[in-house]
Symmetry: C2
Subunit: 428 residues, 2 copies
Amino acid sequence: MTTQQTSSLLAGLAVMVLLARVLGALARRFGQPSVIGEVIAGIALGPTLFHGVVSDALFPSATRPLLSALAAVGVAVFMFIVGLEWDAALIRGSGAIAPCVSICSILLPFGLGTLLGLHLASAHSHGNRTPFILFMGIAMSITAFPVLARILTDRRMSRTPLGVLALACAAIDDVLAWSLLAAVVAISGSAGPDQWRILLAVPFLLAMLFLVRPLLRRAVERRETPRLTPSLIAFLLAGLLLSGATTEWLGLHYIFGAFLFGVVLPRSGAEQLRTDVHERLGQLSGTLLLPVFFLVAGLQVDLSGVDAAGIGDLGLIMLVAVGGKFLGAFAAARANRMPPRQSAALATLMNTRGLTELIVLNVGLQLGFLDKELYALMVVMAVVTTAMAGPLLTWVLGRNTGDGGKYSSIHRLPATRTSSSGVVSAGQ
Amino acid sequence: MTTQQTSSLLAGLAVMVLLARVLGALARRFGQPSVIGEVIAGIALGPTLFHGVVSDALFPSATRPLLSALAAVGVAVFMFIVGLEWDAALIRGSGAIAPCVSICSILLPFGLGTLLGLHLASAHSHGNRTPFILFMGIAMSITAFPVLARILTDRRMSRTPLGVLALACAAIDDVLAWSLLAAVVAISGSAGPDQWRILLAVPFLLAMLFLVRPLLRRAVERRETPRLTPSLIAFLLAGLLLSGATTEWLGLHYIFGAFLFGVVLPRSGAEQLRTDVHERLGQLSGTLLLPVFFLVAGLQVDLSGVDAAGIGDLGLIMLVAVGGKFLGAFAAARANRMPPRQSAALATLMNTRGLTELIVLNVGLQLGFLDKELYALMVVMAVVTTAMAGPLLTWVLGRNTGDGGKYSSIHRLPATRTSSSGVVSAGQ
């Protein structure tokens, strides 16, 4: 790195870290998840404003690959933590309703999304159309588990029946959406001549689940109270990076491996450990590395050139994303005899896109599924759907009604704004 | 980044994180500071072994700039923490002896180092000779404050009179050495046409000391008990990065700015905060980012081609480094009427080079003062002088003698190997 590059890299990082924090706090002030502010911070430093002059000065093209490297590490750590939070126990306890709601809340937006993809393909697909269309379907079907968890915690709903159900639905949604995305990445053949490697994905997955998981469980059981020593941090970091490198090498994306490594870590007997990882690893990653991801994501968003056609497309995207997700979840909940209001609340929660969507969109941009124009519109959709969850939920649930029954305890509390620490604050 | 680059970046990071931890722990097992193992891990992954095949496979040239970016952030955080640990109170309490020992322990190796520089210039200086010669002097004069502090803590000597004196000497040494290095970097004119900016270094320094420091102190005083919230982490990160970016822009190196920002942070009333920073920020940085620096440093070390002439040069380097440092400190201590054995112990401690030297050497390599051959030899010197401190100290102090007097309490304890957490374990 030259002196010029080093100094602009460090200054750019400083500006982004600070702006993400300030706008994140501002978002919290308005009862929004901080991720909204952090994503907007990335977009604000991008080419949309001031004809990109600030953007080019702070982030000259020479330093952008360096930012990508920092962002990749941040996203890997984040996906690992999402995997670590993922809990099969959530799903087991929820009965048939969670899988049903979850699958419907994916199927409908996925179907509508592929239709929209067909419509947009002529203008925005520049390569093979099939992966583009499938990707549009997936991008519409995302629910952000971390943001959803944060919204529930903020409203003290995470232990109510509705909250637990929503978490279970989001957990299933997560795995389904990641699997679908992995499948599309795999068939898109972006790996070129090395595409045969994808065949190794199955043995890799099996090895992680039936070899690595039991080994890790036994390792945890042997320790008295597993604590987060520097050695353990190093081990976890190495594990998530290596698992990510493997899936990337297989022709999938590194996010899958990082997520998977989080999933296979033992749950029982390691609660303290998980909290520590969340606090320690999550904190620095959430303050330094993840904002770099928001920056990298935002630097690609150029809204200055959005014309009437673009706004039309955005309208369609919003309609499909919100309509598909909401109706899918609502119908499934109603079919399972949930009261209308609770069904609406659940559907509203499932419509949260958050950081998960942003990661999916960046995978799409990186692999060439999306062009920059469509990417920018989809980012707007992700921000808007995330921002609308809170106010809509307040509106749906009301503030003081209570119609009794199994899901009545959801009314306990409308928006409170406790600010807790950890990746959470930077992770949705 | 391409798929290939991403996967090798993540895999390479994983291997380095793990190897650094393992060799670091191994070093501790042998009563050595973990930094020894971590530096050797970096060298082991470099071109020295296996004709560089492993090195090229794990770290292809395309990912090396990305590693440098991660390393730069790690070094900046590390320098900030060194600055934060730096304590003027240490020096104030130590009387005239500390400045005297410190200055002599710099002057002699500096003088001998410039002579050696004169001798080596024809073979190893490829540009302007003056900065090369001065740099050789500085590189010989380094004492690593963090390693020294760790050795003292390990031997329960950090509160003995000798320990306190050694820390004070190292603290003065730090500031003197950084100032000398900054001066050499400044006069070397590596900034090219922008060299006028260096004139702004003085107002910047004054602003940091007499404007930023009081402001920060007042900010701390207003808070009840300052705790390390994510916002504060973001502020500290932004501050150290921005301060580093400024000195880099001025034509100095970013390490100075990061160090300075640590120095100007308030001491009184913020003890808990400093501990937290050390633990939290230091831990992830020490486990992930700093090992990347050791890797970047090690990837430049090629010992496979060292011939007889090289071994001769290494002998001279060792003689100047160890002889100069030891005799300078010993003579000054004796002149201040310290007993011989204690003087020898102090001189032994001052001979510790550690991570500080490695940072200085990398600055030298980056700015073209050192060629790769000389750089590799100097790294060996840094490792050997750091490794010899512990055993030499045990030998000098003995295990059971006690000749009374002011410094007798140094005999309390020879090597114990408590392993504490935080950057410390990766920071020397």
